[in-house]
Symmetry: C2
Subunit: 212 residues, 2 copies
């Protein structure tokens, strides 16, 4: 089932809620108020209540939302399930950081294949994943890997994206500092690690920075 | 000047627009339609028009928005200016990727200090930045560095945050897979590189994944 009427911006916040709800569940909580959740994730509580209402999440006054139920709903909507196989292209610093990152597991993702074009890296293991030659991206089709992370320099990104699409990849997380174009049947999310930093000065009192 | 009534979610999208507008400007465009912009950044054009209306950005029918004017406004709101000094704490894979990342420059940021607790790293240069002992975080006050990136393991994040706050840091971009708490005068943006990946399966046709 797809919940087609959920706005993309709500979808974007669901992983944020998911992670926070897991955190509260680990602390032993069964119920959570929208205001406690708001405080942890840095969003407004009305926004959270509105987002939850899209999938029939209605809290009980004085009790709040049942954490287990919310987690179940978000899992269903985002199709979070264990054993989702991901391919990584580009085993530089950023790619290596991803292979070592413990956070993917929360959402059921596992990076099971890694590719690079550097002969010194090909054949070596990074965090238990053997680095393969990027020329062999085509093997993803046979291995039924449909999601990929691109962490290559700008110049190489479009070429890698084309090869991934040809190999049957249908979802791409693009960490290269470039836009890539793909057929409309493929979803690309482009991430720029500088963008989040770019918001910070807005929230920091103006007196801190000398005008020039 | 602060534009206090601009919603946080709009602020979050401004760096996305900023980068896309620079891209169009580099291609030689002077005007841009909300629909072209929408296509590049993957948002709805009505959302973009609404966001722009918060700061008096009104396009001309048949012509679109003037790119230079939009860039100027966004720069003003986000306080994007050259020479914004940033400290990085944690020079592991992710931290090293940040030191090498060309994208910070677009927003006027420069990582001018890097800290780690590993004696093997202290004193070495990574991308022209000398790695300092994390015990010396207090020097940030004297150096007037007010923004920092945390890229340390979960267990160390809160301790690092406390020291940064004591050293006068007022804005933190937290890449550790943990929540941190700071006084209300300090702004923290916590980023989880897995969260963006978590949205992908939602957009990928269900048939692709075998149910189990």
């Amino acid at each position: 089932m797809r919940f087609r009427r959920i706005p993309d911006e709500t979808i974007r916040r669901l992983p944020v809620y998911f992670r926070a709800l897991l955190f509260f569940a680990e602390q032993g909580s069964r119920y959570i108020s929208s205001s406690s959740l708001a405080e942890l994730v840095g969003l407004n509580s009305w926004q959270i209540r509105k987002d939850f209402s899209y999938f029939g999440g209605f809290g009980t006054r004085g009790v709040g939302y049942e954490i287990a139920e919310l987690l179940k709903q978000i899992r269903k909507i985002l199709k979070i399930r264990t054993g989702q196989k991901i391919a990584l292209v580009g085993v530089g610093n950023l790619g290596s950081a991803m292979l070592a990152y413990p956070g993917f597991q929360i959402y059921g993702f596992e990076i099971v294949a890694a590719f690079d074009n550097n002969p010194k890296k090909i054949g070596k293991k990074v965090k238990n994943v053997k680095v393969e030659d990027v020329a062999k991206l085509g093997s993803l089709k046979r291995r039924r890997i449909r999601l990929a992370i691109i962490a290559v320099p700008c110049e190489a990104a479009q070429n890698v994206a084309d090869k991934l699409v040809n190999a049957g990849v249908r979802g791409i997380l693009n960490f290269s500092p470039c836009y890539i174009t793909v057929p409309s049947t493929v979803k690309v999310i482009t991430i720029d690690i500088a963008m989040d930093l770019a918001r910070l000065p807005y929230y920091v009192p103006g007196s801190v920075f000398a005008e020039w």
